[in-house]
Amino acid sequence: MHSTRNMVYIAVFGGLWGGSEIFLGSILYTLQIPMYGVLMAGIGVVIVLTGRLFAPVRGSILSMGIVAAFLKLFSIGNIALSPLAAILIEACLGEAVISLSGRSRVSFAAAGSLMVVYCLFHRFLSQVVFYGRGIVDVYSEFARMASGALGIGMEHVVLVILVFVLLYAVIGSLAGILAWRVGNRALQQMGMRAS
């Protein structure tokens, strides 16, 4: 059981994450902004990792994720499994990294990069759950065909995917570092000390 203050912080930061997913996410989705998923994941990373500094207990990131996921579900109006799973898995990844490696700038960057990289693979993974391993065959065959049509080797296709992963990882780690800086400055300004 968390203390009252930690519980309140879990509620407000989870609420902020869920709220940003509802308000900003719906606007960006409607405007069809390219790569809006990574933007939302980055914002989520900053909020939830900053929240971890204010509620410095094990499991707080996961609890914030659950709060955010349920707010998203309430806004949709029914049980949409994909956003629920995406937010919960992101929160689990963040929680695992911070719980294992403690709170530091490096661990925040690692947690952020892992959380944002996951959002790159979420759609693909949910399609694997839905349609089975056959979808992997279809996509890999398409990749092979595209590499043949463009006259480049399969290793270049893998390279392109790796570049994307790296780009997402960099964005995530920047979001993590931003969370560390903003969180510590906010703690200073509020006259609190990171425990």
Partner: protein, 209 residues
Amino acid sequence: MKQYYSHKLYLALFLFLICFAILLPMRLQYFSLVAGSIILFIFDASAFKELGKIKFWSFVVFLILVVPFILGEKKYILWGFGYSGAYLILGIQMLMRGLSIYMAVMLLNRNVSIDYIAGIFVSLGFKDLSIALPIALNILPILRRNLLDSLAVFQLRGGFKKHRIKNLEKLFLAVILTTVRTGEEIYQILEMKNRMVIAERRSNNVAAD
């Protein structure tokens, strides 16, 4: 919608259908489709009307009608175009698995409330959720107003015209600080209420003595 059966039953049926579809090999996926159809027919027949969502079927059209014409060895001719029998069969198998999982998700969507799912998380050990979730729901309008106010102030101070990264940090800091202040106010109110309850109990005990 009228609730005929318990949430627990629908959740069990959902889990059964998902596990059945995932564990069954691709060549036997018609069993999962049959199981899904029977369960949906018995427990929520009106859900069949909702099966026509375009997003799902557009991907099915892609899998069955487009993929076999593009990928694989073209052994057969259809409408003058060669198509791959292996990819057609794979597409149909994927359709059957996707459809059965889709039915399971629909069964859950239409019959199990979000509150019930939240209750499951609480019973799994996330006891704070029963308090944190109502707080989060109630402060959403406040957080939204804080967010919009921070954005307005940020724009008045020049927005992203200069020192973009520094200003982004300032924007996040403003949003986080307003959120923390809101959290502190809620915490003070909760603490005050707790103290009042304790004081009331004590005075009741004294009066009883």
